[in-house]
Amino acid sequence: MKFAAIAIVLACTGVPAFAQEASDEMTDADWMAWVPAAEEVAMPDLAFVEEQSDIDNYEKYYYFHRADTDFTAAFADIRECDAHARGLFRGNHTPDMTAAMVQYGVLGGAVGGLIGSAIADAIYGSAEIRRKRRINMRRCMFFKGYSRFGLEKDLWEEFNFEEGSSSVAEEDRQRMLAQQARVASGNRPQAQELGL
């Protein structure tokens, strides 16, 4: 049988409660389980003078925040929502199943979201996939109790990514998710909350 090697590391959505230093030898699976100490993650710049053009783009460019949430919890939440958006989240739909899991790996998407995404891509192109990711992150984080705040596009691009037909390198993805978690668990923003 011709078999495209599918290597998937099963990792609990709960992340280890100890900090791990990044190294050059880390695989994608290692990056997916990487949990830095909060102080090792640079806090992005969120300060900007709001203009109407920024407000018009808040549907796309935003960050999350939840009070009384530490970095590790925020990172786990953002990762779980990222996994939902990528189709890597393994559901827990029967009482006898183990806890919900995230499937990671080279072709992990083939198990989950890739098939549907391929259809959407074939019909509407990469823009549709990018739009779905925004929707998924907004909904998932809203369900988890996070508030959403608008951000100026250039600042947003410093620690966020769009994901269309081509995916983001795992290390880049995880480093940006960690920064998003740093913001989500930081000081409460003074800006107006945008909601769902």
């Binding site: 049988m1 078999f3 495209a4 090697a5 599918i6 290597a7 998937i8 590391v9 099963l10 695989t27 699976a29 018009d56 549907e59 796309k60 939902h84 958006a85 189709g87 989240f89 393994r90 559901g91 827990n92 739909h93 029967t94 919900a100 499937q103 790996g105 080279v106 072709l107 992990g108 998407g109 083939a110 198990v111 989950g112 979201g113 890739l114 098939i115 549907g116 995404s117 391929a118 259809i119 959407a120 019909i123 739009r131 779905k132 925004r134 929707i135 998924n136 907004r138 909904r139 998932c140 809203f142 369900f143 988890k144 109790g145 945008l194 909601g195 769902l196």
Partner: protein, 337 residues
Amino acid sequence: MIRTLAITAGLALSAMLATPALAQKIDSIEYERVRDRDDVVLDPAKSYLLVESSGMDVSNFILLPTQEQRDDWERQRQEALAEAIEDYPRDMSRYTRQERTWRESNGRIGREPVLPIEPTNENFGWPDIESRRVISFGPQNRFAKPEGASLWLHEVPAGEYIFYGLGMPGFTECACMGSVSFTIEPGSVTAVKVGRILLDTQGNEISEFPDGTSSTDVATRIGIYIDPPSDLAYDPRIERSRIVAAQFAPVPSLSNWGGGMVSRVQPIDNVIAYDRDQVIDMRPAAVAARQEAARAAEAEMQAVDDAAQAYQDVVDAAAEAVDQAAERVEEEAPAPM
């Protein structure tokens, strides 16, 4: 009636992709759509799912597999794993060859190959069997079109079902973060009502979006629901006593197999509620069990407090006795010379 094989989206579309999905084999779920005719006759020995919706929508339901089917699925996984383990040395050789060619040509020949990961039982992926057991209803071929509703009626296998969500593959509103299951008994016509609602920025239902709402906001602020059927589902061609409203049980989470949009069903009284993203079982028995557990925990805390107090009382009494003894010793001691 047209006999249809419910090949799921994942299976039907896997041909588009060079993935191991082609390797899996599973019996298709067989169901029959009941046509909109005057002389509808339902087989009393068969079971049916009647879906009501206020609009022309696609609704998706998972028929949970039997243990035997799960065992067969795992057997296939183990066979594929054994083959992958056998192929691994060859894959590594190919990788080494391609990587050397790519590197020595400074990237001009071929593309940088991906390092194969050694397959093990722990890291070897396999699709959820449930992803291959989805039955879809609509949007065409309605069984009935009463004023204000659409009905679809399929003869389906009896068993336990989970509401997966609404919409076509790739555009599914997946009840990934909270859904419900229900059982279709043999001989029943089990009915549900499904649909979409509009939400405001706080997740509350609204009748329409404010003017100027952006397209992404509109797409994000859509909610899905599943409820017992309304009176409109009781089509006169079906014996009324045969139609039963589905009895729901909460389901914590589902996989986003279709790469769709994650959502969750709206709360249902006495069935499902949410504490942030945690699904809460609101069925009366579950609520009573939680209350009983809380009472038991409180009683246990009280018992611990009582025991601690009793211990303290003993300690205090002993200390007092020691003090009194010391005082007596002091009183009875001869006065200093």
